[in-house]
């Protein structure tokens, strides 16, 4: 089928427009998504095109408008809420973790919350300690919600469609480095279900697991490893909740070795879950410990050199590979 090349930003913009145009119950709300066009221009032109019933600028009141999204969702609407940054989810954490995720269970299944919370995430652009965090790794651990983290335009559109159609709250984490990242997207309609990891590259020597921006780091690392004759398999989780353990374990059973990467802080990253689970399910096939890589466990600094040093990179992955495979 025919494809076209677009950026992740364009893929998300397209997915949002499609939802607005095809489902009258879908509306978008968030800070400066209308007149301003969105902090990352994802909804540029939407207000003019779709009007202020469907595109709602909100006050700087994350707790209130995330909670309002939950309420609207319980009575039949399908809100898409944009947070200007995943870091700002903290001021709405009670509404997300205690309300969005629990209300269905507390009501004995009487209500559902078909809501998507979209937010740019990740460090690396010198925004400092409070603006560079990746709380999707915590939110993915909360039962009652899903969490998706696309690494390319194809997945971004396919996962966003699934998110918007889901009858459950979905955290949709968009790494800010990747908005401009280009890739091919099919012209025909498709969806990408949650819980199905993508084997980006097959290999027999080593399993590299990541998601979002981390997949690009793994690809660089795999290229370096290939140069050293190491044949790495790359797995893109695509969704942090649910996690496709079958694919990871299957790969580890083949390779016997694994490196798992968060671009979030190592401690508190989702890979602690994945590593703990994989060693429990696949220990007998492991030739050595699963290596876990993430950002250093310090707050995010402003200085570029420090921030880059804290962030994990391909070299770290390659060094880790060296430690578990002599080459």
């Amino acid at each position: 089928m025919t494809e076209r090349t677009i950026s992740i930003r364009e893929a998300i913009t397209e997915g949002l427009a499609e939802a607005i145009e095809t489902d009258e119950n879908v509306f978008i709300m968030g800070e400066d998504i209308g007149e301003y066009g969105g902090a990352y221009s994802v909804t540029k032109g939407f207000l003019e095109k779709y009007g202020d019933k469907r595109i709602k600028d909100t006050p700087i009141s994350e707790a209130a408008f995330v909670g309002a999204g939950i309420g609207a969702a319980t009575v039949g609407l399908r809100p898409i809420v944009e947070l200007m940054s995943m870091s700002f989810s903290l001021v709405a954490f009670d509404q997300i973790v205690n309300m969005a995720a629990n209300i269905r269970y507390m009501s004995g299944g009487q209500v559902k919350v078909p809501m998507v919370i979209r937010a740019p995430t990740g460090a690396g652009v010198q925004l400092g300690a409070t603006h560079s965090q990746s709380f999707e790794t915590w939110l993915a651990e909360v039962p009652g919600m899903y969490c998706a983290c696309p690494s390319n335009p194809h997945d971004a559109l396919g996962l966003l469609r699934t998110a918007i159609k889901s009858d459950n709250p979905v955290i949709f984490a968009e790494h800010s480095h990747l908005y401009g990242s280009q890739g091919e997207v099919p012209n025909d309609y498709y969806e990408i279900p949650f819980g199905e990891a993508n084997v980006v590259q097959e290999g027999n020597d080593l399993t590299l697991v990541s998601y979002g921006y981390g997949v690009h780091i793994m690809q660089d690392a795999a290229a370096q490893l290939a140069a050293c004759g190491i044949d790495a398999e790359i797995i893109d989780l695509r969704s942090l909740s649910p996690i496709d353990y079958a694919t990871i374990v299957g790969s580890v059973q083949k390779t016997g070795r694994a490196i798992m990467l968060d671009t979030a802080r190592r401690t508190g990253g989702i890979m602690s879950e994945v590593v703990a689970e994989v060693q429990e399910r696949a220990m007998d096939w492991l030739d050595g410990p699963v290596k876990r890589i993430g950002a250093k466990d310090v707050p995010w600094p402003y200085n570029r050199g420090l921030e880059q040093d804290i962030l994990p990179d391909a070299d770290e992955v390659v060094d880790a590979a060296r430690k578990i495979i002599a080459f």
Binding site: F27, K53, K56, T58, P59, S61, A63, A64, F65, V66, G67, A68, G69, I70, G71, A72, A73, T74, V75, G76, L77, P79, D94, Q95, N98, M99, I103, R104, Y105, M106, S107, G108, G109, Q110, V111, K112, V113, P114, P143, G144, D167, N168
Partner: protein, 362 residues
């Protein structure tokens, strides 16, 4: 004779009511208007007057019974009783239509009963049984009946406010004239969500009633210790440009009328309205709290003299709207309902352990 009596009920009802408190932004925003009132309560037939009594009594007995079964270990967790506040919930909710929505906090049994939720299934929820409204998963603080527009029962102070705004937003979005009523206490007004939600409802002109049950204490904190203004600040919410009404929460008819006016106005114009009812819980904050460390016995006694379950039936009798036999009949009916609820809850099965993993995802 009955006819000639009726107005007196209203008057009786209203005279004790809304010692008209000033309101911030609007001229005639207190619940009091003698003419409309007389007219209005002429409009309440005695059947309705008696129904309200029955509901208040049902709530009182239900709460007393929950207390007994808490001591017996059949009801667990946190139990917040509505005893003393019956006139507020019954009066307010009696002004709503089935298409309207209610969102409330953990002190929710009274609102649930006033909304007409099945007492058997509420009690079963208290007992944690599978037949409970939330299948035993929610408990006392999380009573839901979505089919009746009763959207919980929320246990984080102030967290229900944004949810309610979202439900009201959906009504506006769907061009329904349904009103959303959200209940909260005086203590909840100190949460950030209170401010954020009032502003959101104001700037978006949402069809919502913010119903503050000001029972003068947030747990052990007298409102004067957590707000410089003390108990009276609903007339100072000017920043939200929201019509504000203050009403006597111990007077079911006054609450009903003030709420009816607000509902009519919202259906017509859609703007949010803030209603404050001063009321009092006769018992502790939760069943764990004797409720006597932080307030004087004399204060409790003073309020108990205004017990709507003493004053209202007396009014019904004085005005001839009911005779003792009628009231006794209602009382007997209520007792039977409670007995049936306890029987239903007791005989209902616990959820199957396998059900723990149900209702997590839709």
């Amino acid at each position: 004779m009955e006819l000639s009596e009726k107005p007196r009920i209203a008057t009786a009802g209203i005279v004790r009511s809304a010692a008209p408190r000033p309101s911030s932004n609007t001229a005639a925003s207190n619940g009091y208007d003698p003419d409309r009132t007389a007219a209005f309560s002429d409009g309440i037939d005695s059947a309705e007057l008696l129904r309200m009594y029955q509901q208040m009594l049902l709530i009182r007995r239900f709460e007393e019974t929950c207390g007994q079964h808490y001591s017996l270990g059949n009801v667990r967790g946190f139990l917040h009783l509505y005893i003393g506040q019956e006139a507020t919930g019954v009066g307010a909710i009696s002004a709503l239509e089935p298409r309207d929505y209610i969102v409330t906090h953990y002190r929710d049994h009274g609102h649930a009963i006033a909304r007409g939720l099945d007492t058997n299934r509420i009690m079963a929820e208290m007992f944690g049984k599978r037949t409970g409204l939330s299948k035993g998963k929610g408990g006392s603080m999380h009573i839901f009946d979505a089919a009746k527009g009763f959207m919980g029962g929320h246990a984080i102070v102030g967290a229900q406010l944004p949810l309610a705004a979202g439900i009201a937003l959906a009504q506006q979005y769907q061009e329904s004239d349904a009103v959303t009523m959200v209940f909260f206490g005086d203590g909840a007004t100190n949460q950030g969500t209170f401010h954020e939600t009032l502003n959101l409802a104001s700037v978006w002109q949402l069809p919502i009633i913010f119903f503050m049950e000001n029972n003068l204490y947030g747990m052990g904190s007298a409102v004067g210790r957590v707000r410089l203004r003390g108990a009276d600040f609903s007339d100072a919410l000017g920043a939200y440009d929201m019509k504000t009404v203050s009403v006597d929460g111990m007077d079911v008819l006054a609450v009903r009328e003030a709420t009816q006016q607000a509902v009519d106005e919202i259906r017509a114009h859609g703007s949010p309205i803030f209603i404050e009812a001063k009321t009092f819980r006769f018992v502790g904050h939760s069943f764990a709290d004797p409720g006597d460390q932080y307030r004087q016995r004399s204060e409790v006694d003073l309020w108990r003299q205004r017990d709507p379950l003493v004053t209202y039936p007396k009014t019904l009798l004085d005005t001839g709207a009911a005779d003792q036999a009628l009231l006794d009949g209602i009382s007997a009916k209520v007792d039977a309902t409670i007995e049936a609820a306890v029987e239903f809850a007791t005989s209902s099965p616990n959820p199957d352990l396998s059900e723990a993993s149900d209702d997590v995802y839709a």
